[in-house]
Amino acid sequence: MSEALHAVPPEPDMVQLLTPEGVRVEHPDYPLDITDDEIKSLYRDLVLVRRIDTEAIALQRQGELGLWASCLGQEGAQVGAGRALRPHDMSFPTYREHGVAWCQDVDPLVLLGMFRGTNLGGWDPADNNFNLYTIVIGAQTLHAAGYAMGVVRDGAVGTGDPNRDTAVLAFFGDGASSQGDVNESFVWAAADNLPVVYFCQNNQWAISAPVTTQSRVPIYHRASGFGFPGIRIDGNDVLASLAVTRKALDNARNGQGPTLIEAFTYRMNPHTTSDDPTRYRLAAETETWKLKDPIERVRAYLTREVGVDAEFFASIERESEAMAEHVRSGCRALPDPEPLSVFEHVHAEMTDELREQRDAFATYLQSFEEVGA
């Protein structure tokens, strides 16, 4: 760890429940009673999410995907946050929350469409309480605040009824913290005491910009300036992420308003498959973070403290093999959209002039088929 401590200044104020070495530690404010089976199930999540991610990168290399934004290294933060969600809660991801999608039972294949280019997302946020991926940095945080305003108006906050009270979980990155939209979202959440939890994955980089380009203080400090609590967690510790997000969501549901969680983590892979990090960061830095891997520490804990046997890990391996196959074959099977579908879903009610454009284009396309015929 000593190297690691050089790379990342020790954060006394960082909540950690499971050390990189896999040692379970307690935190006064965040007691977490969790069974070993639950931890095993978190391990399964982590491994499967990573496998989905790895497979997607391979598919991009093979030309099956145009792009992929890897979440490698951030699985702990995402699975912890995702598993803290209750059925009624709504989540607003960026484009990197594949781990949260997994926890919300979104079939990985649903995520692939926009990266393959067969659609722009295309899923219904209501299906899994998982909003569409949002690429415009920060924009989704205002959607989350607005959704939370709706929750309040629906009387779904602070009723004490677990089947009614609802919280909203909004994701964004360290770079996004500079966007006006994110700060305006903080203004709304604070002024209206909205049931929204902001989950910032500070993965140290915004493409090539280190977090210091955005802020000279820890990002979780930002919240206090707007009048709500902010807290930093070890973003590679799935237990810390689960415990802190769970508590923050509880507070939101109970009408105690917003919280900002800064998950201190690291983007192990390039920004996307199009990026070349060798131009702006040292391999040594990445190496250091390897020592803090979110999965290894859970595996170490399960092996050492719980005495989980090899068969368990083997079964997870088999499951992840199956998942990889599902992703591979499923991706290749994603159908290309029909040419004329570009005119669909532009409006709920298609306009005559767009219909005219569509019909003209249809005629144009046919002219070739005739030639072909």
Partner: protein
């Protein structure tokens, strides 16, 4: 209804929308107690409560962005932008989210958001309070853009816009807020243009604040023996080209009028469509009368800058001379 001012007609239309659908909410700067700087939402907070008619923090991106979230939650937000020149901080949320989310979701999500924008000049205001940004939105696929020119349309079109499952940018000609007019018992289709004055010699198309000016010009032209047809476009996007083309096929001449800068304005699109669809009917090129290609000027210059009866007549004469 007896004759009412457009401001009152809008207020009544909003009231009706709030009564008809509990999911309709009104949000914006100063729309609550104050009733908006133009009093369009006057009394609505009092009658429908602070949960449905409320003041937001002072940030347009926040207003539009939270409206998007409310729409995802199933609400039907009506956002007021205080003045035309202040919609731009919300432009990103409008162009990249409001306009695109229905499409992004393959039709799964609807965006029934109405964005009300008091627009146009002629009221002696300071900078940013007299602009006509409609072309920006008309060029943005996924949005619908309309503008009312009279109290009756104001009353009906605002309700139709709110009821629409598509996002509608609703442009209110602020300088006509205080003009009175009868309110019809039935609405016309939202995206249909209207021949407000039939004529044989030339067609003048306008919308919003310029309709009254165009009618005045047509009246003056009559004295010179010219019989001018005036069309109120009403819907800017989609644009009821058919009605305009039908008119031009009779008159052979077209002048388009709007306050926005002429270049790349709505008149350009209409000209481009009509010269294509009525190519053999046009006896003169489509002429455009609009604001000059300059920022909206200081108010002491706005009468020079804005299209006037005389500038419209000048264009009509030039058209007739072909």
């Amino acid at each position: 209804m007896s004759p009412v001012m457009m401001a009152k007609a809008l207020n009544e239309g909003l009231r009706k929308a709030l009564e008809d659908d509990p999911k309709v909410i009104i949000m914006g700067e100063d729309v609550g107690k104050l009733g908006g700087v133009f009093r369009i939402t006057d009394g609505l907070q009092k009658d429908f409560g602070e949960a449905r008619v409320f003041d937001t923090p002072l940030a347009e991106s926040g207003i539009i962005g939270t409206a998007v979230g409310l729409a995802i939650r199933g609400y039907r937000p009506v956002c007021e932008i205080q003045f035309d020149g202040f919609v731009y901080p919300g432009f990103d949320q409008i162009v990249s989210q409001v306009a695109k989310i229905h499409n992004r979701s393959n039709g799964k999500i609807k965006m029934p958001i109405t964005i009300r924008i008091p627009y146009g000049g002629g009221i002696g205001a300071v900078e940013h309070h007299s602009e006509s940004p409609e072309a920006y939105f008309a060029h943005t696929a996924g949005l619908k853009v309309v503008s009312c020119s009279n109290p009756s349309d104001a009353y009906w079109m605002i309700q139709q816009s709110i009821r629409s499952d598509d996002p509608v940018i609703f442009f209110e000609p602020k300088r006509r807020y205080w003009v009175k007019g009868e309110v019809a018992d039935r609405p016309a289709p939202l995206h249909q243009a209207r021949v407000v004055r039939p004529g044989r010699d030339a067609t003048v198309v306008a919308y919003g604040p310029m309709v009254a000016t165009a009618l005045e010009a047509a009246g003056a032209a009559e004295d010179d023996g010219h019989d001018i047809e005036v069309i109120d476009l009403r819907s800017i996007s989609p644009m009821d080209t058919a009605t305009v083309v039908a008119s031009v096929e009779r008159t052979g001449r077209l002048v388009v009028v709007h306050e926005a800068s002429v270049s790349h304005g709505v008149g350009a699109e209409l000209a481009a469509r009509v010269q294509e669809k009525a190519f053999y009917s046009l006896e003169a090129p489509v002429l455009r009368v609009g604001g000059f290609d300059t920022p909206y000027p200081a108010s002491r210059l706005e009468e020079e800058w804005l299209p006037t009866v005389d500038r419209i007549l000048d264009a009509v004469d030039r058209s007739l001379e072909y």
